[in-house]
Subunit: 350 residues, 2 copies
DNA sequence: ATTAGCACTCTATCCTCCCGAGTGCCAACA
DNA sequence: TGTTGGCACTCGGGAGGATAGAGTGCTAAT
């Protein structure tokens, strides 16, 4: 994008003003609020040019201009400078996150909550992608005849479990044998390398009768597979209703309708993550603006996520969905800071 | 409430019409839609009377009447007749709930989801009140030095666990001793009779050094206490935005804002439950209408819950939050049916 | 007790008008 | 060539006003 300096400044100013006032900005108010050493007519020419480039647009003929998706994109990519949080703001966030918790999941929920409160938008986090973590322990506990609990401890310091049904006849001892056999042969294996076959092979060494054994092994396998399922935590949906951007009930409804399908949102975040990886994108955050987001009803939103790390190979996403008319520099640094703190806290678990 | 038959019919008709049209109903349209064998003037007199009794009210002088909270209350208490669901509707609900799951929690979530889908409103469920259930098993598993998992199996067929921190020096054997001691002495005790003292007494019989022991016992106690904490599952908040009753953004915002604080809603449901018990109320459902609900922003809502039973002594609530302008007879039977199915399914877990 | 008739009330809706902010374009200027 | 003042034009939004329509309460008659 080739823009001379003044045009850059104009676009910058338009985005800033529109973000803060929520009103289309005209050439005159631009002059009043900023110290351009030119007349409004000159800015009008610049603005015509910017509009021609598709960076800004007018809601109707006699209104001022608002940034287009492309305009926001340009702003985010080249124009804005990310500002650090003030020590006060940092403290506020630290205080909220540092609540001591015993499980990573709680920590992530904390962070999500904090993010929604500090940004005032919808926040979300994905649970860690555990496919790359490996099994450290696996125990099957008899609960009662026909019912057992599979407990797995993963390398990332995460504990997962699942209640499973097992044949009624099996006794404690048999279960322990199977449990031991699986543990022995699968310990150290990354979850994504464990298949039904691997588990079945592991169980062969026991002397438990075939059909019974097979069912238990299958359930154990199912438990392991469930352990690396992704969860998403969404919070603060109602905050969107307070934003003027969603004062139209229709938009608000579409937005919250889409967000209520958390599985769909999770899928989308996953896509974003994969796309970023393929592109070798090593920015510390990802941004999607307006129509760039392929979820229905999010046309007026921006989606910003960062990647947190539980271990070197196990990571997840945390971020925000807000109106595209947002203070990007601020929000990005908030997310970034929360992510940083989250990473620090996570070290305590691994 | 002393009402002659025709006045009852009039109130009934007003509620029905208002529920289905969402428009204040006048004497004339009442005549048109129902077969009263009197003139509109007579109904006007009746309506003036009903208004005097506080059962209906007018939004403004020249509009028709709408039911007041008291009017809905009268309708619900004495006027309506609950209609059975059609076989078709029943089938639809059964199909959704019968999805096989391994845990009670999943089952409850299923039911909540179903309820929101079939009513089109916000649905909610409380996790079972486990205070009255007793401990069947308690195991403490070493995960790694300094970290253990407390697994509890409760009489209601529920499995709970919690990761806890323990002193680094403790070894597997010591933990097993403690675990065994606690289990031995607490098995069969209802959760609400287990105190820190009980747990500490249980642990005395082991030969683990005092300060280390104490910490583990405390953590075990904390895990037990956490097991009977109540959770609430809320679903379908966004559906409220599609209702004409919440077409004003302000109302919608207040409502969703309140619902976003699930802890507060849970507390309120608890209060309702307790109040009903104290009154010895053995209706199969509880209803709160409009201002009867003491939560902010729910003035235009009704809150209907039923009690499901996991065992004789362990129960929880499931229900709906909808606009007070709702088809009570239908919604109540939907909730009732879901509850019935939920109870049936729960038998499989206990 | 019920009814017909009537005057009255109030909202919702539709028009119309007008203000003001903003634009695009043109001609003049540096 | 880039900048500027001037000006006619556009359009949305708000104010004001008229009107229709649904509904009410009251009264007098049945």
């Amino acid at each position: 994008m080739q823009l001379d300096n003044r045009k850059k400044e104009v676009l910058h100013a338009i985005v800033d003003d529109y973000v803060s006032t929520n009103e289309p900005v005209g050439s005159k108010s631009l002059i009043e609020r900023h110290s351009f050493n030119v007349s409004s007519a000159t800015l009008r020419n610049d603005m015509a040019e910017l509009e021609h480039l598709g960076l800004i647009e007018k809601p109707h003929t006699s209104a001022g201009r608002i940034p287009s998706d492309k305009g926001y994109r340009e702003y985010v990519n080249s124009l804005m400078t990310i500002e650090e949080l003030t020590p006060r703001e940092q403290l506020e966030i630290e205080k909220r996150i540092n609540t001591s918790v015993d499980e990573v999941t709680e920590l992530i929920k904390n962070a999500t909550h904090t993010l929604s409160e500090t940004t005032g938008f919808v926040s979300l986090a994905m649970s860690p992608r555990l496919k790359k973590s490996f099994l450290k322990q696996l125990k099957i506990l008899m609960i009662e005849p026909g019912k057992a609990l599979v407990v797995m401890v993963l390398s990332a310091g995460v504990v997962k479990d699942k209640v499973v049904r097992i044949p009624n006849f099996l006794n404690d001892e048999q279960i322990m044998k199977i449990s031991g056999a699986i543990e022995k042969s699968l310990t150290g294996k990354p979850l994504d390398e464990i298949t039904l076959v691997t588990v079945e092979t592991a169980g062969k060494s026991t002397d438990v009768p075939e059909p019974l054994l097979k069912q238990v092994l299958y359930e154990a396998y199912a438990a392991i597979k469930q352990a690396d399922e992704l969860n998403i935590y969404l919070e603060g949906e109602h905050r969107m209703l307070s934003l003027p951007d969603f004062s139209s009930l229709g938009r608000a409804r579409d937005l919250l309708g889409t967000l209520s399908d958390s599985g769909m949102v999770a899928g989308y975040v996953n896509e974003m993550e994969n796309a970023a990886r393929e592109l070798g994108n090593d920015d510390s955050y990802m941004i999607r603006i307006g129509q760039e987001i392929t979820l229905e009803g999010l046309d007026d939103c921006s989606f910003i996520t960062a990647t947190y790390n539980l271990t070197d190979s196990v990571s997840g996403n945390i971020g925000v969905i807000g109106p595209k008319r947002m203070l990007y520099s601020k929000v990005i640094s908030q997310i970034d800071f929360v992510k940083k703190k989250l990473n620090e806290e996570m070290k305590k678990f691994t």
